[in-house]
Amino acid sequence: MTIEMLSLLGAAIAVSFGAIGPALAEGRAVAAAMDAIARQPESAGTLARTLFVGLAMIETMAIYCLVISLLLLYANPFVQ
């Protein structure tokens, strides 16, 4: 197992496992927003804005995993 192979594996595992949690959480967030908009359609603007802010926060976790995998692929300090 060379360091290149391990880095590839690490990059794949980072993104694949790192995307599960945020995806589930975003689904729950959108479902809650749908509930709230259905209950009170006149505040749909505020709810949509808050939803987008919340989604960006959740998305950040997936972005962290993506950055780690990109570091492993393109800026790996152990590979020439």
Binding site: F52, A56, T60, I63, Y64, L66, V67, L70, Y74, A75
Partner: protein
């Protein structure tokens, strides 16, 4: 073909010993466009505005309204910073769609610089509002035992600002490059449309978070 590594240097030219990267040149171009646009938009202001001035007023009052909603106080001291961040980020993020143009925010140096600006402005506004002793004392609230955690949270929220914007814009460009290489010229069009949405949302998120961090420092928002 991906032209250059996402995290490696991408030098356009050298001024003596100093490398000027492509992102810096793109930022200069965007600065020039925004400066000229702002000057053109604010000439001959009238009390009863016609269309051009009304459009600019919608933008400025919209941003001021967002700040007023978040901080519950007069938005005037914070409007230049928040407004510039928002307008610059909207233009910089959507400039990725222009052919042959490299979005500056797809590089971690640009987003790192913007996050540092927000970090410095939090301390500037905090010290200006409540004095430096009280501002430093906020790190000892609610108890002094939490001081390391407060310092760490200060660092991580700055880093997360930087990584969020960088990751979103750079990964969008990377996905576009890979899809074009794999599937042809017209397939990425829906991805480019998604990229426009992501650009606007990320610009809004960055500006709103900057406003919230400043609000926490001046005591207008419950601490984060």
């Amino acid at each position: 073909m991906i032209e250059t590594a996402p995290l490696g240097p991408h030098v356009a030219f050298w001024i003596g010993p100093v490398p000027i990267s492509v992102a810096v040149v793109s930022t200069w171009a965007i600065m020039a466009v925004l400066t000229v646009g702002a000057w053109l938009a604010t000439r001959n202001l009238a009390v009863h505005p016609e269309k051009r001035q009304a459009a600019v007023e919608v933008l400025v009052c919209g941003i001021a309204g967002q700040i007023r909603d978040a901080l519950n106080r007069d938005p005037a001291p914070y409007l230049p910073l928040a407004g510039t961040l928002f307008i610059f980020l909207v233009v910089a993020n959507t400039s990725a769609q222009i052919p042959l143009f490299n979005a500056p925010t797809a590089r971690i140096e640009t987003t790192g610089a913007l996050a540092l600006v927000v970090f410095a402005s939090v301390h500037y506004f905090g010290v200006r509002q409540i004095g430096w002793k009280d501002h430093l004392a906020t790190y000892l609230k609610p108890t002094p035992i939490l001081l390391p955690l407060n310092l760490l949270s200060e660092l991580t929220r700055t880093v997360s600002l930087m990584v969020r914007l960088f990751g979103n814009i750079m990964s969008h460009e990377l996905v576009l490059a890979v899809v074009v290489a794999l599937a042809g010229l017209f397939v990425p069009l829906p991805i480019m449309a998604l990229g426009l949405l992501v650009a606007l949302v990320q610009a809004y998120i960055f500006s709103v978070l900057a406003i919230i961090f400043i609000g926490a420092a001046i005591g207008a928002v419950k601490g984060h």
